[in-house]
């Protein structure tokens, strides 16, 4: 599968001490071209029907994820399943307000997920800060830091809204409209600059493999 768009420049990893630098990989993220049309369509179908959610409740909105697993809403029907480790998860649900401290962890986890990966912004806070719009410690616009595939509005959105959001995401995946991973890789420097602007103690590599 020779579909990698290779960019071989190394990352500087200036946030790390000299001692720590060899402990982390310094390669840049790469973007990928889709495979042949029908192959990609089939694979997208599989991706859409097996969405593994990273079990990281980043804010108060995460409380709305739990009912999804219960008998009443039963998200497993749609091939959704929670997954405890970013390596295996494919969907990152940002659950509401995002403090700077959490954002740092979110970036790390997002980068540790394997592509193709999708981000769902949950609740108003991820759109424009919501009720925390003037807080000194809460971001206002998630899409300046991560490529967001879909927003679900509300404060809080109900589980039904979430299901609708997931289904919308599935349609988008099947249609091949979700390109977050590639977008992140192509605009890597812009995202990184935004992230570094607010994350003051950047004591991690520029890209967390």
């Amino acid at each position: 599968m020779d579909n990698k768009e290779i960019n071989n420049t190394k990352l500087a990893n200036e946030g790390l001490s000299e001692q720590d630098r060899p402990l982390f990989c310094d390669a840049r993220p790469q973007s990928y071209k889709p495979l042949g049309k029908y192959v990609e369509k089939f694979l997208n179908w599989a991706r859409a029907n097996s969405l593994w959610i990273l079990g990281y409740g980043t804010g108060c909105g995460a409380i709305e994820l739990r009912p999804l697993m219960t008998a009443r809403f039963d998200m497993f029907r749609w091939g959704l399943a929670p997954r405890p480790t970013p390596r295996q998860a494919g969907v990152f649900v940002i659950g509401g307000y995002m403090s700077v401290k959490t954002l740092k962890r979110v970036i790390r986890s997002y980068e540790q997920m394997q592509g193709p990966k999708f981000v769902i912004g949950l609740g108003s806070c991820t759109i424009n800060g919501g009720m925390y719009w003037d807080s000194y410690n809460t971001i206002n616009r998630l899409d300046h830091y991560l490529p967001v595939d879909i927003y679900i509005t509300g404060c809080m959105p109900r589980p039904e809204a979430l299901i609708a959001g997931f289904n919308k995401l599935k349609e988008m995946i099947k249609a091949g409209e979700t390109d977050g991973q590639n977008e992140y890789a192509r605009n890597f420097d812009w995202y990184k600059a935004n992230q570094k602007k607010i994350v003051k103690d950047w004591n991690m590599p520029d890209y967390n493999w």
């Binding site: 401290k101 616009r141 607010i198 994350v199």
Partner: protein, 179 residues
Amino acid sequence: MQEILNKLIDRYAIEPIQENRHNQAFVTIEKNRLPDVLTWLRDYEDYTHLAFITAVDYPEIEKIQLTYMLHNYILHTDLGLRVLLDRTRPEMVSIHHLWKQVATYQRELREMFGIDFPGSPGLQENFALEGWKDIPPMRRDFDTKEYSEKTYFPRPGRQTHDPKEYMKEKLYPSAKEDK
């Protein structure tokens, strides 16, 4: 309650006392005497529980006020000890030797108010704000809205309403027409 206040007055000649309820009172003491008083209260008067430490910023009088809230599990009474610190260089004696967990409170106060507690373990470690370089955000002269707008890419098109008027408008649209 009165008993303990009397004792305090007798022992430490403390004057300003504010008694809120029959089982809650606040006294203001000199900052250097605080460890003495706390030790005595803890060891002899059964105020074994330090509920919290909190701070209030008074830029008007150039002071920061610290409140140590103690609780007595036998009498179920609360006693707040207040200390006034100089606002330009706020510094307070650390009491982590009395209650180990106080170190965490002191870390938070250092970060949010910029109060120094020399000798407190892990004082310089991050509490919630990692790598904060501005003036401490809980100081009242820190403008959080301005900071947010400067830092967090505000999304244009945001509207602000007066909640009272807005709800009235939404819930009783007819009332408006009446005007």
